[in-house]
Symmetry: C2
Subunit: 391 residues, 2 copies
């Protein structure tokens, strides 16, 4: 069994929205196809994946460094002990050959796209959903029931209004969501508080609404917002300051009585360990949101979870960033607390096919082999274009 | 005044050598030329620079993200108040537009290559060496005297021997070096101690020899080496564990009585601040080695120095990683403690033209405008190839 071809394509994100810090109009995503010599129903088995939403495609690092390393490897060096699956850890070691320690940025997303495609591939070789493969590999029971999810929205739009944001969250309720998240920090604190009140007037329970500052605040502003939103008792206060400013996070955690969430912009076990050691995160209260698609993939993610548990945190406090099918399978396979959804935006990667069914605040992976990306109507044409044949 | 063209080229590093963790045979470097519409002596003024040695060229990020952002900017938005120089900070903000916080890896090197080219350009517009431009901009006296340097070598070669390493360091002495650095961690501790003893038999004073583990050690190994080399009183013990493992660094610093050095794999002010807050670095004793060519360039470097000084560290404890002309100008312009040299290896970027004169353990920038990369005989053909005309 061997890999015969690897293709990558940079796909633009649809939409024109902003959080407090960046516009997504310029962002794009690397889509990957790893084709094997294994034939099923007259077609080769292909593993698909992508790095995650909200940063950039990584065509250069993939083409110049990682794909050549993987294609140059002896095929048997990439297989697990059964020789019936690829060994994701060996694949990761191969694509990271001669990379120096530290500097967990763009390359972590490039490596993730490739490593995740191996999981899609393995699941298809096993003819099962990826979450089943993940759970077996890491000896988890997996979560067969629905995965808790929340609608992440409340971005800043050109010509925005309180009516628009109320309508937006009303739409999420109509779509079956029970938990919600909105942006803060892209307007004045007064305007942001009005936006929060507008959303609360729709969703009711403040314990169902989280706010996300996308790392924008300095310590003084982070503390000022903490004081202002404290009495509301929101679900969580997300990415208050620079994601690497562990000191700031720890200082806010000392005074803010409710949950803090962060981690989507930490891309290695070591960075998350630093958050745990120095960031003041409180077991039983705070949330972690690392995204396997931005942080070397599922192998590294398993290490992050092990490290968190060794420091007294439950994996149920982990809700991966992303809002897409890969995050859903990761949450189900690792028995995490839940996963995001970005209804209607960040297409063609965001969101879930109708078969996943949002209702009662939960969502379910389908029975499709792998991550089931082929079930996503607006992604399928890109998958076909990637390999030059129908997926 | 405006930028009319930006070219980048990925240049392989010559040589076949390894530290304890990676082979350099696969590494390469992005070389940049920023061409303006300003004519001098019938030729356009061109700023040259490169990201640093030891990681990778960044063609993808430069081509896909940063160069298009810079070329799309209004020309006047990139100039300083005098309109006679480009504003490096504005250039950096432009090339980082829509980049999220965190993830300081490959993009930090890509941004650095462009930002450093702006400094070469400004210095040429001012008809002065880059260190003079840097010193004026950041209101430093600059170091007009020679810059302390040391010969960094002692890599692991195929078919290595104690005779070879003795000859190597004897050669550095003959070339006028008085301080030295060698690798550890690529062999057993017993073999490494024999290598250290071999080098000490040549260089004599242990206070003139540093050792570099390149981030390879876990805590137990780092402590074991610390105990073994402790009695020697070496100049410094470098990059003991993972560069982001601040806890490990702090634990070794608690027991190792002599200087520790680290920082070459930290690529932002925030990462270095975390090292200061959590890594146990000791003012007046330990060394910092951040490399502007890997960490967004000189603007970010100035911020790192300001942050270090605000925490009680002297800028004389900063010796930038790199071993090349750009590092030399940075050290001279910012009045740092010194800079590296890698005699004979990591070409065509490593080392200094003969005009810089190594002697008495110091080295001097020449009077050439900018970084003087044009004076480096084996680099000049690459500069010519980059623009398609003689530099």
């Amino acid at each position: 069994m061997k890999i015969v071809d690897i293709q990558e394509l940079t796909v633009p994100l649809e939409g024109n929205l902003s959080n407090s810090l960046v516009s997504f109009a310029e962002h794009n995503v690397s889509l990957i196809a790893v084709t094997t010599d294994v034939m099923r129903n007259g077609k080769p088995v292909v593993g698909y994946a992508f790095d995650s939403i909200g940063r950039f495609g990584q065509a250069g690092i993939l083409r110049d460094r990682m794909i050549p390393r993987l294609m140059a490897a002896r095929p048997e060096s990439l297989l697990d002990a059964t020789a019936e699956n690829f060994d994701a850890q060996k694949v990761l070691q191969t694509i990271m050959r001669n990379e120096k320690p530290g500097g967990h940025g763009d390359r972590a997303a490039a490596a993730a796209a490739l490593e995740l495609a191996i999981w899609d591939l393995n699941a298809k070789l096993n003819d099962e959903p990826a979450w089943v493969t993940i759970a077996r590999k890491f000896e988890r029971a997996a979560r067969a029931e629905g995965i808790d999810t929340y609608a992440a929205g409340g971005y800043y739009y050109p010509n925005d209004s309180l009516d628009r944001i109320r309508e937006e969250f009303s739409g999420y309720q109509d779509a079956g969501f029970q938990y919600f998240k909105m942006k803060v920090g892209g307007a004045s604190m007064k305007e942001d508080m009005a936006r929060i009140e507008a959303v609360l007037s729709v969703v009711g329970d403040a314990g169902c609404l989280a706010v996300d500052a996308n790392g924008r605040f300095d310590l003084a502003t982070g503390l000022a917002y903490a004081e202002e939103i404290g009495p509301l008792g929101l679900r969580w206060y997300e990415e208050i300051g620079d994601p690497l400013d562990f000191d700031l996070n720890q200082r806010v955690a000392q005074t803010y009585p409710h949950a803090i969430a962060t981690g989507e912009n930490l891309f290695s076990i070591q960075d998350v360990k630093n958050l745990v050691l120095f960031g003041g995160m409180r077991p039983g209260k705070d949330f972690f949101q690392m995204d396997p698609g931005l942080s070397y993939g599922i192998t590294e993610y398993a290490g992050m979870l092990e490290m968190l548990e060794s420091h007294g945190f439950s994996r149920r406090c982990v809700h991966p960033h992303g809002g897409h099918l890969i995050g859903l399978h990761v949450a189900a396979g690792f028995e995490l607390g839940g996963c995001e959804a970005y209804p209607g935006v960040l297409q063609p990667f965001g969101g879930y096919p109708a078969e996943c069914g949002v209702g009662g605040g939960v969502i379910r992976p389908t029975d499709a082999p792998g991550f089931g990306l082929e079930q996503k109507d607006n992604l399928r044409p890109w998958l076909d274009r990637l390999t030059g044949r129908p997926c």
